[in-house]
């Protein structure tokens, strides 16, 4: 614990700086046009989540349709507003998963685990839902609030925050009580790590059966504190990378949540992913806020934080990005990005420049 205090002076200088490193080499890339072929009456909304499985099939968790408030007696119930679609690797529509699902309210992320199970993180229902590769529910984490409070109140807890998010703002409470969770990842043992999230400021760890083990973090800017943990990824050595978005940094922890280091030179990390294979890379997106066309570039890094290159910028054309919200990088030079404001999935083919001469 004493070790941690050594980091504080560094943090003070970094605090509040949304700096992105200059003089980073540009990585040439293309975007595959018309990637996803949607059936006639199906439309993508905000592409909050995208992931691929071992066959290359593409899963998209999208904010679409309208969320509904159902008038009850003295309480108002909500439903709808998010859908999960599967496509083949070449973008042909396969199916919808979880049609009318109780926990699908406001999409935030979808991830595929090494066994091809499909995990959905819903910021509105405060739930993480595990589907088998066939698309049946295997495990649920968190619980959708029974009703929404009208009008919504500030803060967390049963009475407010999100749509009545459970847990308290700050450290949260033990267990799978989430308050607007954002992302999920697994270590080699199958332990589950959930970034939680907009309401709470913590990472929660569960065993592979969903049994709560521990959580760490509280709201703040110190080491191990978070201000909107927005994405999470784990490398082959079980190091845990957390996109601490509003602190403009990536924090790295070991498997027990002990702070190791932080990277502060890649802007505001909205989305993270780590490649498979013997030499792993970390991608981080300095996404443009939905209210601007600033930033938008994606960084390719070594796991130690060294920046190797960057690509892209904010915009609405192909190859440009409208608030990248999730990335999939199963293949290091084939990145899938889900964009909020462009309602789109792009498949980006990188052409990393091999050293000349």
């Amino acid at each position: 614990m004493q070790r941690l205090s050594l980091f504080i002076p560094i943090l003070v200088t970094a605090a509040g700086l949304a700096s992105a490193q200059n003089n980073v080499p540009e990585i040439p890339y293309d975007s595959a046009p018309n990637l996803l072929k949607l059936p006639e009456h199906i439309y993508m909304g905000e592409a909050a989540g995208v992931a691929t499985n071992s066959k290359g099939n593409i899963f998209v968790y999208t904010r679409t349709g309208s969320s509904r408030a159902v008038m009850g007696g003295s309480r108002v119930f909500s439903g709808g507003g998010a859908r999960l679609f599967e496509f083949t690797a070449n973008g042909t529509y396969v199916r919808e998963i979880g049609q009318g699902m109780y926990g699908f309210l406001f999409a935030h992320a979808v991830r595929i685990d090494p066994q091809d199970n499909i995990w959905v993180v819903d910021e509105g229902s405060n739930m993480v839902i595990k589907f088998s590769p066939e698309g049946r529910v295997l495990m649920t984490m968190g619980r959708k609030p029974e009703a929404i409070r009208v009008p919504a109140t500030e803060g967390g807890g049963e009475e407010g925050g999100g749509r009545g998010g459970r847990g308290l703002p700050g450290a949260g409470v033990g267990g799978d009580n989430f308050n607007r969770p954002t992302d999920v990842a697994w270590d080699a043992a199958g332990n589950i790590f959930i970034s939680d999230g907009y309401g709470n400021s913590r990472v929660a760890k569960f065993d592979k059966n969903g049994q709560f083990l521990k959580s760490w973090g509280s709201k703040g800017t110190g080491p191990g504190q978070f201000n909107l943990p927005h994405a999470i990824a784990i490398d082959a050595q079980n190091n845990i990378y957390v996109a601490d978005r509003s602190n403009n940094r990536i924090q790295v922890f070991d498997d027990d949540g002990t702070f190791k280091t932080q990277f502060t030179n890649v802007g505001t990390p909205y989305a993270l992913c780590i490649t498979a294979g013997p030499h792993q890379y970390l991608y981080s997106s300095n996404s443009n806020p939905s209210t601007s066309m600033d930033n938008g570039e994606i960084y390719k890094m070594e796991l130690d934080g060294r920046v190797l290159g960057k690509f892209g910028r904010a915009g609405k054309l192909l190859k440009e990005f409208g608030t990248v919200h999730e990335m999939d990088c199963r293949n290091a030079d084939e990145i899938f990005v889900g964009e909020l404001t462009n309602w789109r999935i792009q498949k980006l083919i990188l052409h990393p420049v091999v050293a000349r001469n």
Partner: protein
């Protein structure tokens, strides 16, 4: 009743104090002060003979229009209707009014229809006042560009903000936008709207260029910019509805002119072709106020410089009358398509201007 009479008296005094003519008219026509205030300043405008095509749109069984909020035609004459139904929905009909298809079923950007327009490349643009979004569909009906962003629903049901609690306008966020138009470069103009009081210009790729307007009644200010149209030179005509005037800006959004004699402009449309005309609807109120409806509801045909050429129509529920016209399509100068809020209807209006003043 007493206060009503006294306010009538005050208004009458005010009116008589200014133009002598208005006072004389009030006496001769027996209009109430509210009617005098609501009707267009322009009087003795020639009537353009017209007819409404009966049974124009043919809807399949089990499909119903709601408030006919937006209407537009493409180069083939196909008709697009953006309607407030149980869901807000976008329908396409062929040139004869036969139903073809629905576009954007369950779309994230559809909550409360306001306008649909078709650009010169036949892309279909929907302006949604509920989601604060402008959605561009290609002619095949797939989304190709988005402007603005739907507010996140994750906060739950929020209290309706007070009408005067408008957050500052931002380049990429709308507050109840109303309409869209393009110039010859493909630059995009959006009237925004009920919340903000401005017109925003973007390049054809959706990058912000400029904006004009704050809430008010001064020159270049706006009070409910409700409809927008551009002419071939790139001038921008804005229906400044609650100020009861059309404001004209140049392509850089510099103020040019005001036309304030055609009532409250709810809807604007400019014809294509070598000689362009401007249509403007002084629509009857959507609150079904019969006193005001008696002196409103007509559509004006104008030269681009504001000269009035004629008018047609009046408020009413029957075919050929208008139930609060909310959009006009005038791709064909004498074959207008109008949508109506309170009548839940789209009419094809055929004008016969040649019949006027022949011989």
């Amino acid at each position: 009743m007493k206060s009503y009479l006294s306010s009538c008296f005050a208004a009458a005094l005010l009116l008589c104090a200014t133009p002598y003519f208005a006072c004389a008219q009030q006496k001769t026509e027996g209009l109430t002060p509210a009617q005098l205030n609501a009707r267009a300043k322009a009087q003795n405008v020639p009537e353009i003979p017209y007819e409404s095509v009966p049974n124009f749109l043919k809807l399949p069984p089990n499909l119903y229009l709601g408030e006919g909020i937006g209407v537009a035609t493409n180069s083939k004459g196909h008709i697009f209707v953006y309607t407030r139904s149980q869901e807000t929905r976008l329908f396409e009909f062929d040139q004869k009014g036969n139903y073809l298809r629905e576009i954007g079923e369950g779309l994230y950007g559809f909550a409360f229809a306001h306008a649909v327009r078709v650009d010169p490349q036949d892309n279909i643009w929907a302006v949604d006042e509920g989601t604060n979004m402008v959605i561009k569909f290609n002619p095949a009906g797939r989304v190709t560009m988005l402007l603005g962003r739907r507010p996140e629903s994750v906060e739950g049901l929020l209290a309706t903000p007070a009408a005067n609690a408008v957050p500052p306008a931002e380049p990429y966020r709308f507050n109840r936008p109303t309409d869209v138009a393009w110039d010859a470069n493909g630059d995009i103009f959006i009237s925004d709207g009920y919340g903000n009081s401005r017109v925003v210009k973007y390049d054809k790729n959706g990058r912000y260029i400029a904006a004009v307007g704050t809430k008010g009644s001064g020159q270049g200010q706006l009070n409910l910019p409700h409809s927008i149209a551009t002419d071939a030179k790139g001038n921008v005509y804005v229906a400044d509805r609650s100020n009861r005037r059309i404001e004209v800006f140049d392509n850089d959004l510099t103020f040019k002119a005001i036309y304030d004699n055609v009532g409250a402009p709810w809807s604007l449309c400019i014809t294509p072709g070598a000689h362009q005309y401007l249509y403007s609807s002084n629509s009857n109120p959507d609150n079904n106020n019969s006193e005001i409806a008696a002196v409103t509801g007509e559509i004006y045909k104008m030269e681009l410089d504001g000269t009035i050429l004629g008018k047609f129509g009046k408020a009413g529920k029957q075919l050929g009358s208008f139930g609060t016209v909310h959009a006009i399509d005038c791709r064909n100068e004498n074959e207008l398509t109008v949508s109506e809020i309170t009548a839940w209807r789209v009419q094809r209006i055929v004008l016969h201007p040649q019949n006027r003043g022949s011989n």
